[in-house]
Symmetry: C2
Amino acid sequence: MRDVAVLGVGLNKKWGELWEMSLRDIFVEAALNAFDDAAVDHIDSMYVGCMTGGMFASQEHLGSLMADYLGVKSIPVTRVESACASGGVAFRQGFIEVAAGVSDLVLVGGVEKMTDVSGDEATHALASAADMEYEGYQGITFPGLYALMARAHMHQFGTTREQLARVAVKNHKHGAMNPVAQFSFEVTLSDVLGSVLVADPLRLLDCSPITDGAAAAILCPLDMARKISKKPVVKVLASAQASDTIALHSRKDLTWLASTAKAAAGAYKMAGKGPHDLHVAELHDCFTIAEIMVLEALALVERGKGGQAAESGMTALGGKIPVNTSGGLKAKGHPVGATGVGQIVEIALQLRGEAGPRQVKGARVGLTQNMGGTGGSSVVHIFEAV
Amino acid sequence: MRDVAVLGVGLNKKWGELWEMSLRDIFVEAALNAFDDAAVDHIDSMYVGCMTGGMFASQEHLGSLMADYLGVKSIPVTRVESACASGGVAFRQGFIEVAAGVSDLVLVGGVEKMTDVSGDEATHALASAADMEYEGYQGITFPGLYALMARAHMHQFGTTREQLARVAVKNHKHGAMNPVAQFSFEVTLSDVLGSVLVADPLRLLDCSPITDGAAAAILCPLDMARKISKKPVVKVLASAQASDTIALHSRKDLTWLASTAKAAAGAYKMAGKGPHDLHVAELHDCFTIAEIMVLEALALVERGKGGQAAESGMTALGGKIPVNTSGGLKAKGHPVGATGVGQIVEIALQLRGEAGPRQVKGARVGLTQNMGGTGGSSVVHIFEAV
């Protein structure tokens, strides 16, 4: 297999409620920005990560649609879905294709247009990432599922309501420095603790929002990137993916993200790096409890200690391992199919030293972790500036 | 890249209206049959081709779901979508993963559960393979789109109404020999010509049905297959994929399937074979006109001569190049996400000499062609018994 690099990255201008743009418009804007950043004029192949074009926009066949509107029709284009991990999993397919030598220049984009349906419809569409014949049939949706995980974590490890809130405060603080972020403003601890209760113990400001947005990355062989890129070259050190039961009720332990732990172990092994080698990470904080549990599954903290991370400042900019400098899903927004690619865009910018006011000084190794549902699927990538 | 083989294949017992089985049940039945056929007890990775679990079954995150219910949770599992080409495109991803050396044993399954919604809802869900903001907004659905293509082909090349019907008669004759087929019975020319008009000139018996079904194939390196398989080894000679405009109105020529022609050219080159080397083929006959146009795009007949193929007997069992010995989408059924993998199952059986009464004598080289929408995406595979 060939070594692979991220040659260019792009986002659409602003994540949020983009009522004036359609699914295709958002995707094309991000993809063209990646073309500009990569300074290439063609691609050989493309992947589109999207969770549910069908339920949000009555549109499937997204590969053909996006190739057509991006002006690259005729090339192979494949849409990939793994719920909220669709973007990360699409990136992995692009990585494998370049590593295999099947293609040299592969664009991986992620997109979701979530605000053209009602809130109830959006909640139903998102619930399709859970087991709809059992979990969905009982009427539970994602805030409820993550609330169960949060309660179990609080019970088992003494994680506090305030510790959950600290994750949101930190990620909003980061997001306030990111002009693309849907919520580029800070919130206080009392804002979070006083926000409306959604599913006990989770409050509104513990939850990532409904977002329209897209992200794109162009991959190529490392040798090619070294030759043609005028920017620091971002090498893909590792790509690993794993699965778990789709339903929470089938797990032995509600507080452990087995798919993330397995993907992380695979990625650390492939990269020849451990958690202590990381300088920056983008993690899947769909709810505040998720960031806490992911920190543990990645072995960035000990089991049960995730709640202390944001509280101690360890995961803030300037801390030992800054997490979600982009603002994370919480503040940057969570257009589900785009999220995994958006995380990679942030890490590429960090490793190239282009993250502006939210730059992690001297960041050379970064990790992304993207997951679907309550962790039924997870994908972890590790990158290094070389 | 490593050479790749199809180690085992499986279908669920019967394609059709499976009201007593859910999406997951159908998939698992086919996948377990592929395990039995391959005589292996584990897989390293899995792909699931499905067009719209969301619109048909309110269920996305199909990778996690199917891994869970198949009893292989923890491995990487990825759902792939390219409308009615979802199965073929999923197979291509599995092929690339094995060829790259990322995994040794990869299961590729395709599935669709289409009969739990009303006919109107199914037609709407299928229309999401077209451009919903333009074609769909005007109210046109797939029978109408293919009717436009048929009319153009009749006008430009003199293709007749009877020639269209001959495709259905042939494929039902083949399907009558396939116990899995949804419609395992013959129809006559007058049955087709007298069936209800759907979208002029297409009648009910020109159209593939709404089907529940699943198909699965297990891939491995060729060397491994040679060692462990007790059956003739089916090598994947070529895999090629291409795209075209999603909307029919953006094409210069309604009678030419550019994505299929491009994928075929790529596949012939990769295989070192031409159309005259093929002994059997499974083509995407979602409507009778589609088989006619695909024959031309694959260069199995000259441009404009596709209508004469079924009429002359060339594409029937015993003819020069038997097409759709399984019964095709027309008679075997068209569970959209499963179709592309189902085609590969049929070709594997043919090349192993296990196709029973519909066996093509001495078949050693076979091709599958699977497409999405009106040809917005196409994928072509070529196989050889080695």
